[in-house]
């Protein structure tokens, strides 16, 4: 079974804090993704990575950065958290090749006060 884990289920941070969200997958997948999920807007892609140390911007990268130092781990960084970054953050992974299936973690619900 593919397993994608996220470091926290719930986080409460203050405006201006630096926030780290960690994601680990155990299936040796090349591709990893960070999304945020908001009511009425669905899942929106923030960043993705198709290899170690490689990253690509998604649809809404502003205010975020990412790090992928090891294949199994993909980190999302909020440099200076703002209230409009309150959201559910979902990490996903996908093997290379023709597979379209993305495997999701349980999500981190972040509240920025």
């Amino acid at each position: 079974d593919v397993k994608v884990t996220q470091s926290s289920r719930y986080l409460v941070k203050r405006t201006g804090e630096k926030v780290f969200l960690e994601c680990v997958q155990d299936m040796d997948h090349e591709n990893m993704f960070w999304y945020r999920q908001d009511p009425g807007l669905g899942l929106r892609l923030i960043y993705f990575s198709y290899d170690v140390k490689m990253k690509e911007k998604g649809d809404i990268p502003e205010g975020y950065s990412v790090s992928r130092e090891k294949k199994e781990r993909f980190s999302l960084i909020l440099e200076s958290a703002s209230t409009n970054q309150t959201s559910m953050y979902l990490c996903a992974s996908r093997p290379s090749g023709r597979s379209e299936t993305q495997y999701f973690g349980p999500g981190t619900r972040l509240l920025v006060l």
Binding site: V4, G58, L90, E100
Partner: protein, 113 residues
């Protein structure tokens, strides 16, 4: 206009009913079509995956794609309370050398016992 439009619901049906969930899309570049199911406080999980026009059946679930009308549907027969979840349509496209997904906003379904 969003690339993918999904009926937002919420949808509430009695147990045993046939459920129809729908998405329309505008981007002809979408090649693969998926339905994800997301239980409360969990990450999305892949339910159905298809790439051609027509119907694909898996147990009580049928995925239908009509590329000429840019319309996809998910039918659930003999719906059960355990089907209560948010259903997300997703469509795959090639961005540069990487495949990405665009999601609908999700339909929340409740099946009443």
């Amino acid at each position: 206009q969003k690339e993918v439009e999904q009926d937002p619901g919420p949808l509430s049906v009695p147990e045993g009913a046939i459920v129809s969930l729908n998405c329309t899309y505008s981007n002809s570049a979408f090649q693969y079509f998926m339905w994800y199911r997301q239980y409360s406080r969990k990450g999305p999980e892949l339910l159905m995956y298809t790439y051609s026009s027509g119907n694909k059946e898996d147990g009580r679930f049928t995925a239908q794609v009509d590329k000429s009308s840019k319309y996809i549907s998910l039918f659930i027969r003999d719906s059960q309370p355990s089907d209560s979840a948010t259903y997300l349509c997703a469509m795959s496209y090639l961005s540069g050398s990487a495949r990405q997904l665009t999601f609908g906003s999700g339909t929340q379904l409740t099946v009443l016992p």
